[in-house]
Symmetry: C2
Subunit: 251 residues, 2 copies
Amino acid sequence: MAQPELARQQNTQLVLAELKAACATCNLRELCLPAGLSNEELDQIEAMVNICRKIRRGETLYRAGEVFDAVYAVRSGFFKSRVTYEDGRDQVTGFSMAGEILGMDGIGQGSHNCDAVALEDSEVCSIPYTRLEELSREIDGLQRHFHKLMSREIVRESGVMMLLGVMRAEERIAAFLLNLSQRLNARGYSPLEFHLRMTREEIGSYLGLKLETVSRAFSKFHKDGLIEVEQKFVRIRNIEGLKQIYAHHVN
Amino acid sequence: MAQPELARQQNTQLVLAELKAACATCNLRELCLPAGLSNEELDQIEAMVNICRKIRRGETLYRAGEVFDAVYAVRSGFFKSRVTYEDGRDQVTGFSMAGEILGMDGIGQGSHNCDAVALEDSEVCSIPYTRLEELSREIDGLQRHFHKLMSREIVRESGVMMLLGVMRAEERIAAFLLNLSQRLNARGYSPLEFHLRMTREEIGSYLGLKLETVSRAFSKFHKDGLIEVEQKFVRIRNIEGLKQIYAHHVN
DNA sequence: CGCCAGGTTGACACTTTTCAAGCCGCGTGG
DNA sequence: CCACGCGGCTTGAAAAGTGTCAACCTGGCG
């Protein structure tokens, strides 16, 4: 037992060394970090971001109940956040792509509130929370930036409440597709053609719908010439049409 | 004219003086502030919390789109937060009672994301955000406490997503009543008898239901001996029964 | 090659909404 | 002081939307 464990530790250290000093050249920097940092501040931040963990598809970054000690910046890949309910029912509460921050739900109670599951092989930067607190006191742009990220998460969730509370099935799905499209676009990918990383069931869970309803809506949108769908591949053919559905399309 | 005006000013100063230095003796202190502050730190915080605004029933504390410059601690009264959608549909995204913090949605984009409307005559402590940022750097417990409050708001909202996404009407309403009951209890009020500050329509909006559905659920609960309802007055007669409904009561 | 997860589609059931009617309590104005 | 109006609430019946169940298809992988 002792030998492999030692080997694993050494290997971990190696990985650590390789992945230092990434922030300065990271093309997601503008999403994670405030603008206008000095070189010195950037050095401090890079020293804080101390691990780049790889998470395989299907594995969890953290689970509900685990001790919270870090937030994570998604470097590559795709995650879902999932809350499980006492009686076994669960719900997907969000999807996270590169440049987004995961784990802020854990600060309040010191343990995570949800599972973060990789939907494809992914990499994350780990940011120990106590270091983040300290550094926030020294670099004032960092404090404000972190507050903004948390606040945006609050706003994002109230947008989802809107989805779930007032929209009907097709509106929810149009809104979902448009949101994905817009986020991909912001990252330099095509806003009109993309692969869904999640199953129909996961989309449904997120939107408060059953997978059959999701499937039917996709079929309907296809019939109406709004999109093409082939398995997980989606092409948006009429984005204005989608927007009309999203904006309370009354038949 | 001069006389009463002068008197009013003096009176105002008196009120301000009275309302300064309130945190130290505020019985909601443990909700707003971290534990273990020194007297000096408390003085600094009291200097930051600079106004106690009164908001009449029906008036707004802030509106969506207004410039964000402060967060608010509810000192007394009751608020709803409401997001209005482009096409006019709106949704209640939360209810806030004494000791809770409002306005953190505004940090991310520098303007408020929702309206905060008083459901009864209320008082709030106003906490200018830039001062809060500065002080967070000096008093480390304060920074962490503020992060916790924001994080809890994130967790609260994902709880609401659960309500909206996976529960059926009666479960949602049982959960709503139990949540109110628990929060009132934490503030020293009876957990079994209380007045609803909001209408059926507002409850419905919050829970993604129509007011008729809310009304029917109340009637059903009454018929089953779980609660008594008379207009806005609610008495819980069988809290375990409510919890069973909430926890996926199948039939 | 066959299995299996994931997806699609149809028929039917159930929940919730919609529409409508009427009640109650409260504040206002005659 | 009473009549009135009105917002808020309750209840019923019918309609609409979504879920449930079941059959079948497809593509990827062992």
